[in-house]
């Protein structure tokens, strides 16, 4: 219809019925955009308010009527925020945790998923059902014994309890990568086998290169998860030199709750790396969610 429309409009006058039809269509499109824009603005407002407050001097923060666009700008808030808390220390801790947790997740889950997706062996499906079943176990059930275990072996206030388990697979990622690897053509494995490749060779030379999109998805999910993580560091990292941005920022809030300019500046510096990261990885990210939101 949309293609026909200009031609119709030029060649002859529209009948009343046609006009009503196009009007209704246009109204529907307009309404759709209007609703999306209203909700969209509402969804972005918290972020806008965060940035706006982060640029306001303290006198303007506590001022009515509220302003979204600051009256005077005070970018020094960002510098002050990095001095009010050991910002660079926290940033480094968050980065360190994110890097190693992601390396662990990528290595282990690619490896494990290959065993579930491409190698055929007795007991595979039973074991895979157990993998899926572990997703239902709330982390609270594991939290206390693991805390006591890690306390006994002296791992509290280190990143080891947060990083080491990542090197042993995660049910959700195994599931995601298995689903992906099962779509790769089996003929490749057979061809490689005829050429004398070992199971390891097939994994390393064929499965890993072809699974790059899924590996990327796991990496992206894990980077976001670790960067955001609050409970893990809250339970295991009780020493100020080990705090991540999550813990450090909340601590600063509980001590200086009224410093909204600095708090919002710090929150923005905590958020912006994820936003930049998202814009680079957007496609894999959306595809990853679609992939986990069940396909086949």
């Amino acid at each position: 219809m949309a293609v026909l429309r200009p031609a119709l409009a030029n060649s002859r006058a529209l009948s009343a019925e046609e006009r009503r039809y196009f009007l209704a269509r246009r109204m529907k499109t307009l309404l759709t955009h209007a609703i999306l824009i209203i909700f969209g603005i509402t969804f972005m407002l918290p972020f806008v308010w965060m940035i706006s407050s982060s640029l306001k001097p303290n006198v303007d923060i506590f001022e009515l009527p509220v302003r979204l666009i600051p009256k005077t700008y005070r970018p020094e808030n960002y510098i002050d925020a990095t001095n009010a808390i050991p910002f660079w220390q926290y940033l480094w801790n968050s980065t360190y945790y994110t890097i190693f947790a992601t390396i662990g997740a990528v290595l282990s889950n690619t490896f494990i998923a290959y065993g579930f997706a491409r190698v055929r062996w007795r007991g595979r499906n039973v074991l895979f059902i157990i993998v899926i079943a572990t997703m239902m176990l709330p982390f609270q059930v594991r939290m206390i014994p693991l805390y006591i275990l890690f306390a006994k072996i002296g791992w509290l206030n280190t990143f080891l309890p947060l990083i080491v388990p990542n090197f042993f697979g995660n049910a959700f990622y195994i599931f995601l990568m298995r689903q992906f690897m099962m779509t790769l053509p089996k003929e490749l494995d057979d061809a490689a086998r005829i050429d004398g490749a070992s199971e390891w060779g097939i994994f390393w030379r064929i499965a890993v290169p072809l699974s790059k999109p899924a590996i990327l998805t796991v990496a992206i999910f894990e980077i976001i998860h670790t960067w955001h993580d609050f409970v893990g560091p809250l339970v295991y990292l009780r020493h100020p030199t080990k705090y991540t941005l999550s813990i450090g920022l909340r601590l600063y809030f509980t001590q200086y709750g009224a410093e909204w300019g600095l708090l919002m500046a710090a929150a923005a510096m905590f958020t912006i790396p994820m936003v930049i990261f998202f814009f680079f990885a957007q496609r894999s990210f959306i595809e990853g969610i679609t992939l986990t939101g069940l396909k086949g």
Binding site: T32, L36, F39, G40, F43, L45, P46, F47, M50, S53, I61, E63, L64, P65, V66, S108, I112, Y114, G115, F116, V119, W121, R122, R124, L127, F128, I132, T134, M136, P138, Q140, V141, M143, I144, P145, L149, F167, F168, G169, R178, I224, W227, H228, F230, L245, I247, L249, R250, F253, L263, A267, F270, T271, M274, V275, F278, I289, G293, L294, G296
Partner: protein, 306 residues
Amino acid sequence: MFKLKRDPADQSNSWRTDNLPAWGLFFVAPWIIGFLAFTVYPFFASLYFSFTNFNIINFSPRWVGLDNYVELFTADPIFWISIGNSIRYAALLLIFATVFDIFIAYLLSLNVKFLSIYRTVFFFPVLVPVVAASLTWIWILNPRFGLINGLLDLIGVKGPNWLASPDTAMLSIILIAVWGSGRQVIVYLSGFNDIPRSLYEAADIDGASGTQKFWRITLPLLSPQIFFNVVTLIIFSLQSFSEVYIMTGGGPANSTLLYAVNLYNRAFRDFAMGYASALAWIMFLLILGLTLIIFKFLSGRVIYER
């Protein structure tokens, strides 16, 4: 996720002879080790701890039998408050998020212009770290100078004391969770996009109305996504902790004290590890029971084949 891909080769018996489990076990070995150390061990240890009390000084468990469970059910009003709060939170979040996310995904599926911009906008809250988002919301909901009451002030309305009043605190945290549910929009959108256009065209020819098309075509064909999102949302919301712990700490007057917040307080504020383990087990059984009920009643209604 609930209909797993089947390897066609499984149907034949040929592979059993040509592949010993050795290579398979080699690849899944890390998972087996991790499963034993970080799932099986804590699973049973937690069950054992739930029948013990922990001595704070030397931190060793002492057997007390069913005492923790008896106390939980008969002498701990906080336990019942937190269960009620969590169920209310999960139920309302489930309704609000499901309706809203399906609605937004539906609008996005109408072939709108600027789709990728809209999609990014609704997904954006997922990118904001939990602590950064929670602090921002505390500031937005500031009773006097926050954005919302500030805007209400412009039209002469005195806004409520959102997070600090027992009447509005629960509603606030639920709406904030809806704000952060953008992952579901993406899942629903992919579901909408998978519905073949031809079905609607056929329905048009038969003279079906918009509502009929929604109930008879859209909803049934969206059922795998709805099922997936409902199950994950229930499991997730019953374990919900961070946002609420940061924004209200369970207050005011325990009105937002979710189950997981109470559990954390018992374990790491009071160091009542045995008691908290009993709480964790009740939670596990609750989630297990709910999931099984959903599977029993919903999975039969899910339509996978197109």
